[in-house]
């Protein structure tokens, strides 16, 4: 069975440490899904490429074709990795804008692994105080381990136990296993036929059901 994994990354520069973290998480999730005996196809949505279209959609109400495809990739995936830089104590505006324009309910039940980057570890709680509640609103299923990477984390050795925090590789691996377990268990025929499909009969609507 082949699963789809969408990776949303909201780094503003290229190359970006947010993208770097997203790539590390992706590798780990792909590995973990394969350990379950399933295949996985990865689609990366780099929000930087859609920044203008996102603003336009906020103003006009409709998505350009490229943005529509990106939204479809994310809402149709079996699992999502969502990584944002932390700015002013919370997710970046570009990251929030993307999740503001997806249809209500379209990410309900979707397993999500959240990650964030910032200059220092002092911003790490933004993941649990800002990013996690955003996905609670979207009714997504966020895995317990969220992965935060401060700049200094990129210099720590795998398996190091010399500091009071677990090294990034250990957290990445744990988060990836948590997401993979949800992704492989996801029911296959969960979609209702896409937009333009009625979920109740008109007779039910008429009788006020």
């Amino acid at each position: 069975m082949t699963r789809t994994l969408a990776v949303v990354t909201a780094g503003l520069r290229s190359p970006s440490s947010t993208r770097l973290l997203a790539d590390r998480l992706t590798e780990a999730v792909v590995r973990a899904v394969r350990e379950h005996g399933q295949e996985v196809v990865v689609e990366v949505v780099d929000l930087r490429e859609h920044a203008h279209d996102l603003t336009n959609m906020m103003l006009t109400g409709f998505a350009s074709r490229g943005l529509q495809d990106a939204i479809g990739t994310v809402t149709g995936a079996d699992g999502v990795i969502a990584v944002t830089p932390i700015f002013s104590g919370s997710y970046g505006g570009l990251f929030k804008t993307f999740f503001d324009v997806v249809d209500d309910g379209s990410l309900a039940g979707t397993p999500v692994l959240i990650g964030a980057t910032a200059g220092s570890a002092r911003h790490s709680l933004a993941l649990d105080h800002a990013v996690r509640p955003l996905f609670a609103y979207l009714r997504s299923v966020v895995v317990p381990t969220a992965v935060f990477a401060a700049t200094e984390d990129f210099g720590r050795a795998t398996g190091s136990t010399t500091t009071d925090t677990e090294p990034m590789a250990v957290r990445i691996d744990r988060a990836a296993r948590e997401l993979a377990a949800l992704v492989v268990a996801r029911e296959q025929d969960r979609r209702t036929g896409g937009p333009g499909t009625l979920t109740v009969s008109f007779e039910d609507l008429l009788s006020g059901q």
């Binding site: 336009n56 103003l59 006009t60 409709f62 937009p195 333009g196 008109f202 609507l205 008429l206 006020g208």
Partner: protein
Amino acid sequence: MQFGIFSVGDVTMDPTTGRTPTEAERIQAMVAIALKAEEVGLDVFASGEHHNPPFVPSSPTTLLGFIAARTERIVLSTATTLITTNDPVKIAEDYAMLQHLADGRVDLMMGRGNTGPVYPWFGQDIRNGIALAVENYALLHRLWREDVVDWEGRFRTPLQSFTSTPRPLDGVAPFVWHGSIRSPEIAEQAAYYGDGFFHNNIFWPIEHTQQMVRLYRQRFEHYGHGSADQAIVGLGGQVFMRKSSQEAKREFRPYFDNAPVYGHGPSMEDFTAQTPLTVGSPQEVIDRYATMRDHVGDYQRQLFLMDHAGLPLTTVLEQIEILGEEVVPVLRKELAVGRPAHVPDAPTHTARVAAAGGSRTSGITAVDDVTGVSPEHAQVTR
């Protein structure tokens, strides 16, 4: 195939002069636009309904009644009538009255309205938008077809032995379109009743319009009103024309860049590529709108938004002249080519009366429904 104008009725500053028209000027401008539309041979004038500034048309039947008195041929319609926050009884009464005064030149387009506070201002809740549209229209539909209605629902006080007066002209209700951009429930509603479906696609890519129209057509056939290609479809449109493409773009750009809704967003070039907005020569407009049926099938009504973004009245009237004299005659010819004979024309009152087997006058006026006494009976007992 009908062609016409629909107006939102917004009072918007002209970004090239900094001048904002008064409400009085804007209301008179809407009348002038409707008269011009008839003069240049267009078929429909439709007014929006709004209950908040900067919009003037809060009372569409007053406006349309006035226009009816000053025109002879053009069909008067709405874009849209708020089926959610208006009392369906009052819609039944107001539009039946207008239908009589306009000698049948009336139809309506139902819409939910997307201005949040209008709902509470009229005692409703926007979260019930779809449910209101479904229940209110079900009542309106009966009020125009049954002389005496007993009714009970969720949103309105019950009715016992209620007769909506005047009864529809010739016993035939005004034709109804249901406008929706993205709610499948409304496409379904239009299909259920065999009413028209209008997709106001002016801010939407054609692929989306195609999807909604396809749903409506399939369901129209499902409910047994005819084959899918006989369903009654209307589309919105938006154009600005000058002799040359360059002239049109130069003159319209400041209006585009500052327009409510899309101004300060996408570039005019992106927006024209992604939506039906066409800024160019009359021939470019013809070429663009001649292809709409390739996406949605042969359709019945094409409305254009011309008076918006602060365009001065003189410019709007020029635009309507170009539309009526240079564009629509060609589109009429082109869209008639290859149109199957079984695809119906846009419904008109005359055609609907004929389809109903002729005029049927209700006898309801012979009875005073308060005293229950008919004139003849009153004489006998006296």
